[in-house]
């Protein structure tokens, strides 16, 4: 049947006897929705949120396109063929908006159950689309089917729209309460965009249909205004893309999007003929221009920041590679040099010891003093070489650990006994205390554990001028950990030193004044060894001159 009161359509959507706002409200909105949807999708097709935004854009565009066909065509069969799909696409729009908002709010896909709930909500609309409940006839005089639409069917679509609005609001409010400040801004923007879009779309289309159905209007051109909700929604998506990097779209790509949208708006001047259309287009152009300037500024700033960051990252990367190379060369050099030095030093210490013991006859007192200094220096050198070799082994991953069960308390007590004469010589008291609840058995490398303890207690002796050093053993059966605290009344450390004390060559600022022989490697080696055995070492000090506490922690063998 042909609506004989109306003019023929050309190219499916072009007719002369249509309201001037028709093309303005439909074509640019379809283009904007599809451009933004496709653009976001093509930038990151695997992202669920991007796929859903494209789905919403396509459904909305489909609705708007069949609406354009309904406004311009005069064939009843064609019009009735598409009429049920207003309800179908509206319901799909409602459920996919719920889906989209949930994924945006939670950052993950919805559950299978929720997918079924959403599908079940839309199924009645699909199943009943071709029945009289949807549409039963056609008015050739008005060239529409408003008078033949099913009221219950229409009401269900409106209810779906309200459900979508409430559901989206609930999800967004819930996410908002748990979000960070930056995320809250994104959620707020999304909330405004989605709610306004749904409200405008469902309110105006339903109201348009209702008024025409009730005979208050012959046309439902009020629904045109509902479509602008999508343009607003997409503008909000644009802000989310550019300002908050939502949908993982790059900054330069965003610029292209803004320009495309501006060109699209400007292109309307070529086909909008009415004065109203031209006026509205001009206002839109100005508003879009302002928005574009704001967005482009933000993009330009980001691009420049990103460039700077890329340059810095490149420089840092090159510097890091060079440093690694140098570090490797240094380690190799230290390893070779240390091995080369160890043999002559051993020889020097051996012969010095023999000379001091009188194996080569008696020497005058002054010569013995000199020999004593040679022996002490050679000892320091041996320790230093051992440290260098240990660092080389650790960095090359060649340090070997022979794990066995032993009594940690007994071994640490022995270490204290070994160090006590040296402490007494310096006028210090070395105390050993324990508050153990368990058997204090650990599974670790005995020699290395003893080496760590020696290092820590000797350090305390070296950096304590007067007072005492207390070695305190304690355990935590629940956590299966054992601790040895070495508490001294020595020079203490600043917070700055505490941060660097375990680094290679990380000595305190004035450490050389107190201990000239230190290499700055002992604590680094001790920590690496402790960590390799499942433990750690921590340091604590109230400040310079206020003493310090080092804690060696190892796992307990239960």
């Amino acid at each position: 049947m042909i609506c004989h009161y109306f003019e023929e359509t050309s190219y499916l959507i072009f007719a002369s006897d249509v309201p001037p706002l028709l093309y303005y409200s439909h074509i640019p909105v379809i283009a904007i929705a599809l451009i933004v949807g496709l653009f976001v999708f093509l930038n990151e097709p695997k992202l669920k949120l991007n796929r859903l935004l494209l789905t919403i854009s396509v459904i909305f565009s489909a609705w708007t396109f069949i609406n354009l066909i309904a406004w311009t065509n005069i064939n009843s069969q064609l019009l009735l063929g598409i009429w049920p799909f207003f309800a179908v696409f509206s319901s799909l729009l409602a459920i996919y908006t719920i889906y989209f908002v949930r994924v945006f709010a939670t950052g993950k896909d919805i559950s299978g159950d929720m997918k079924w709930i959403l599908t079940l909500l839309v199924l009645p609309v699909l199943i009943l689309a071709s029945t009289n409940l949807s549409v039963s006839g056609f008015n050739i005089s008005d060239c529409d089917a408003f008078g033949f639409e099913g009221e219950i069917y229409n009401l269900y679509i409106m209810v779906l729209g309200v459900v979508a609005m409430l559901w989206a609001a609930y999800d967004l409010i819930r996410a908002y309460t748990k979000a960070t400040v930056l995320r809250k801004k994104q959620i707020l923007l999304m909330g405004i965009g989605v709610e306004l879009f749904l409200a405008m779309f469902f309110f105006f289309t339903y109201i348009g249909s209702y008024l025409a159905n009730a005979g208050h209007t012959t046309d439902s051109d009020i629904e045109f205004y509902g479509l602008f909700g999508m343009a607003f929604f997409m503008a909000i998506m644009g802000v989310l893309i550019v300002k908050f990097k939502s949908f993982s779209v790059g900054a330069s790509a965003s610029t292209a999007l803004i320009l495309a949208l501006l060109i699209l708006t400007a292109s309307q001047f070529t086909y909008v003929e009415s004065r109203t259309g031209l006026g509205v287009t001009a206002v839109t152009m100005v508003l879009s221009g302002i928005l574009a300037i704001v967005l482009l500024r933000s993009v330009r700033k980001e691009i420049s920041q990103r460039k700077q960051l890329e340059e810095l990252t490149g420089d840092l990367g090159r510097a890091n590679t060079r440093l690694k190379e140098l570090d490797k060369i240094k380690s190799e050099f230290v390893s070779i040099a240390s091995h080369q030095l160890r043999s002559p030093i051993t020889s020097i210490r051996g012969y010095t010891s023999m000379l001091l013991e009188g194996s080569f006859g008696k020497f005058p007192e002054k010569a013995n003093q000199a020999l004593g200094r040679i022996d002490a220096s050679a000892k320091h050198m041996t320790v230093a070489i051992e440290d260098y070799l240990n660092v080389s082994r650790i960095e090359a991953g060649n340090m070997k650990y022979e794990l066995s069960d032993f009594n940690f308390k007994d071994e640490m007590s022995s270490v204290c006994e070994d160090v006590r004469p040296a402490a007494l010589k310096e006028g210090l008291v070395l105390l050993f205390r324990s508050d153990l609840k368990g058997r204090a058995i650990v599974n670790a490398d005995l020699n290395k554990t003893v080496q760590i303890a020696h290092n820590l207690i000797n350090n305390s002796v070296k950096y304590t001028k007067k007072g005492s050093i207390t070695v305190f053993m304690r355990d935590d059966i629940k956590q299966k950990r054992i601790y040895m605290d070495i508490i001294d009344t020595g020079v203490g450390m600043s917070q700055e030193t505490l941060h660097t004390i375990f680094e290679k060559f990380g000595r305190a600022k004035d450490a050389s004044k107190t201990n000239t022989a230190g290499t700055g490697l002992g604590l680094f080696v001790a920590l690496k060894m402790a960590q390799a055995m499942g433990g750690t070492i921590t340091a604590h000090s109230e400040g310079e001159g206020k003493g310090s506490r080092f804690t060696l922690e190892l796992p307990l063998q239960m």
């Binding site: 064939n75 009843s76 599908t119 689309a129």
Partner: protein
Amino acid sequence: MVLSSLAKYSMPISILLFLTLAAGATFVRFTVQQDYMVQYEIDCDSSQSSCFVGCEDDECTETYDYAYKFRYAKSIFEQCGEDITDCDAAQTCAAGEAKCSDLFCDPTDELNECSTLDDKDSSLEQSV
């Protein structure tokens, strides 16, 4: 593998399936079977019935009287084809035709502008 993919995409698959079925059913009903009602204006004699008043132009300088006819699309298509403009058969119901009725203007309805004639009641007369 295929089953898990089906489960994963059950929502879009179900929707697409029902959407296709709905499109098919709609096409068959409205295009092939022409199973729907049509409503159109018919001539109305204001001396006999209460008629709706229509405007000939935008300024409504000239008016005309009309009533509405409701008919089954297939019936009228068989008589008049696509265009009912010059089809006299469109003005009346065929003998024994079901689902054929006229709607005249209801003066009690404020939304309607009816032709002003004495003792005209709005009526929906079902023709035989």
